[in-house]
Subunit: 387 residues, 2 copies
């Protein structure tokens, strides 16, 4: 294909999901590295760490103690970035509209949760079998379902999911009783390189009264695409195109496609896309939850195998907002991003700095080269999983 | 003022310069820190390092040797992210327009330069006197002027600047002879925390055939503001507003205002704004170049004083593109961003991860609190400058 030349020349690629551009410099992968190296992380953690605030039975920073949980444990973050109740804010009645335009603020409320994936301190998703990841996805589904607006297009699906999926035997947290929240962001930070302060396997769930910027941009782009293409979905068309082209596909099963997207910023960035029109977690069937767990397992295990290290990343799910009009729910297309910072070994990381902050993101190896590497490191996890 | 409540409640702020939002969580500054700590960097560097590829007389990676330069030395980056000449790229004649829409690429050419600020390996801008920073600004002005399109609205100013400002006695690099470049990004990465591989004081200058995303977004927002407000400039109005409000002002002189902007993402992010309509470096008078050098000196010295460490940051100048219509040149308003990652000591850094990558940027201390701290750490540099 004529695209072959893109593996040797500098070029820019367009991200239709956010409307932004990226600079790709594949000729540059030979440059020497003189900068910071990360320590290669070996798994020498204990199964239980008495100082970990996530391990069963331990006390947390604000005094609460974790139960002796056996599966998955959810609690409200002791240091939430958002408060549920707070003083009102009304912008100063402005002498001129310039101030109200240039110094815009709006109050934001919400609640932040932490969900542990396992009572074992020394596991990661890569160490866990698909069957052990399914309960994580069930917990995500239940917490999403329980926060959905009663007027939501997917409310019936949510009620069904809550009836069909058993609650975690270790208990759950009831959603806030007043004030419908607008959006739920489920995300995981893994590894010190991602600023994660605790190796105990867990994710965070932030719910907010406002629609955050990234999913807002994506939904706007997806809505525009639907308008321009007779109701077709951007990620549906994109997934079909990638399945046809093959070169950026890492792995797939009946329900999910794993690709290094055309517009990937991070060296081994991965996008997990639902193959049919799944709008949110509550749309997944029992079989699809297993397929999604497989996809998460494949991505995280391949990441660890790539450089034979516990691979750091931030991951997150984008899906239908908790509170939105029917149109926005229909426009949503379930997907999960993985943004890992490692560049070409366990110890060389990529920084988003300088030109990338001032001008635009830049990468050296192409997404096609990254996908080929990730395709080739399937199989067993390189290290022995603790048991 | 009623804005006082913003120092205790979670809220979102709008960045009118890019059209994006930010989550502010001031109540969260008390949370404990368990994650990665950066080593505090002490200046124990030699004045000359035989292994540094930027020191005078040393050989660089691709074989060239640096001259025994005494002032400022400019050369073409040995590992440029962009090539000046490369194979053509013509997208595959697509079977369907979906592929050409979802797999968009365009060739990008350009040239990347490195400019050293001093022959001394152990200096930083914070160590340098204003009088020693003026030649850096002169070098920036000359390289910008020499790359400007002959059809540019500022071409006369560029010719005048090249005639008035002496070339560096250590020589200069002639601009490419064919192909007008669209944009020049001058930026500095300082410190290992910003992935900078060499402490020798230097910046980079990337010139590209395409308009990068960040300045493109800013110019679009500034153009919209002018259309909506009878030709007034966003950054003019903003600077006046901040001078009136005072609470986010760090420092100012006759020519430049230094603020922690209302919408700052990084804990101690700073914006240096020209007080009059300076469109690009070539608009600066002799006196303004000195004033700008003072501003750069004040920011970098205050940064180092803040935590008594060599403060890491990425900084960059936004100004008129090298090649643009008169309208775009007139819309441009000279400013410089400083994005530093340190949070509340020399060893605690902020990571842009998780929620910030998936949803939207988030900060704990407010820009007003940051500005107060930076106002209070003027005066002499905390450490003795090598001489
Ligand atoms: Zn997304
Ligand atoms: Zn700017």
């Amino acid at each position: 294909m004529s695209d072959q030349v893109l593996h040797s020349i500098s070029h820019r690629r367009y991200n239709p999901l956010t409307g932004s551009w990226l600079l790709v410099s594949p000729h540059r992968t030979t440059r020497p590295w003189l900068g910071q190296q990360e320590a290669s992380s070996k798994n020498e953690l204990p199964e239980y760490d008495p100082k970990c605030y996530l391990c069963p039975g331990n006390q947390r920073a604000q005094g609460d103690s974790n139960p002796q949980y056996k599966n998955i444990f959810t609690f409200v973050n002791d240091y939430s970035a958002l408060n549920e109740e707070q003083q009102d804010y009304t912008p100063e009645a402005s002498k001129n509209d310039i101030a109200s335009l240039l110094l815009q603020a709006e109050p934001a409320t919400g609640r932040c949760y932490v969900i542990t994936f396992s009572p074992k301190h020394d596991l990661t998703l890569a160490d866990m079998a698909t069957a052990d990841i399914v309960p994580v996805i069930q917990a995500w589904t239940r917490i999403y379902a329980s926060h959905l607006s009663p007027s939501h297009k997917l409310y019936a699906q949510a009620a069904q999911a809550l009836a069909a999926i058993p609650a975690s035997p270790d208990g759950e947290v009831a959603p806030p009783t007043k004030g419908q929240l607008r959006y739920m962001q489920i995300f995981e930070n893994k590894g010190a390189a991602m600023g994660c302060s605790n190796p105990h396997p867990h994710c965070q769930v932030w719910t907010t009264s406002a629609m955050p910027d990234e999913p807002r941009k994506e939904l706007a782009q997806m809505a525009q695409y639907r308008r321009d293409h007779g109701g077709r979905h951007l990620l549906d068309d994109y997934a079909r195109l990638e399945m046809e082209k093959q070169e950026r596909v890492v792995w797939q099963n009946a329900g999910f496609l794993v690709v290094c997207p055309w517009w990937a910023v991070w060296p081994f960035e991965v996008l997990v896309i639902a193959k049919r029109h799944v709008r949110a977690l509550v749309d997944l069937t029992d079989a699809e939850r297993v397929q999604f767990a497989e996809a998460v397992q494949e991505v995280t295990r391949r990441y660890d195998n790539l450089f034979e290290t516990s691979f750091p990343y931030s991951s997150g799910i984008h899906q239908a907002p908790l509170d939105c009009a029917e149109e926005e729910a229909e426009t949503s297309w379930f997907h999960m991003h993985f943004y890992p910072p490692l560049l070409r070994s366990a110890t060389v990381r990529k920084f988003l700095v300088g030109y990338e902050l001032m001008a635009e993101p830049q990468r050296d190896i192409t997404p096609e080269q990254a996908a080929a590497k990730l395709r080739n490191c399937g199989g067993e996890l390189y290290r022995k999983t603790p048991n």
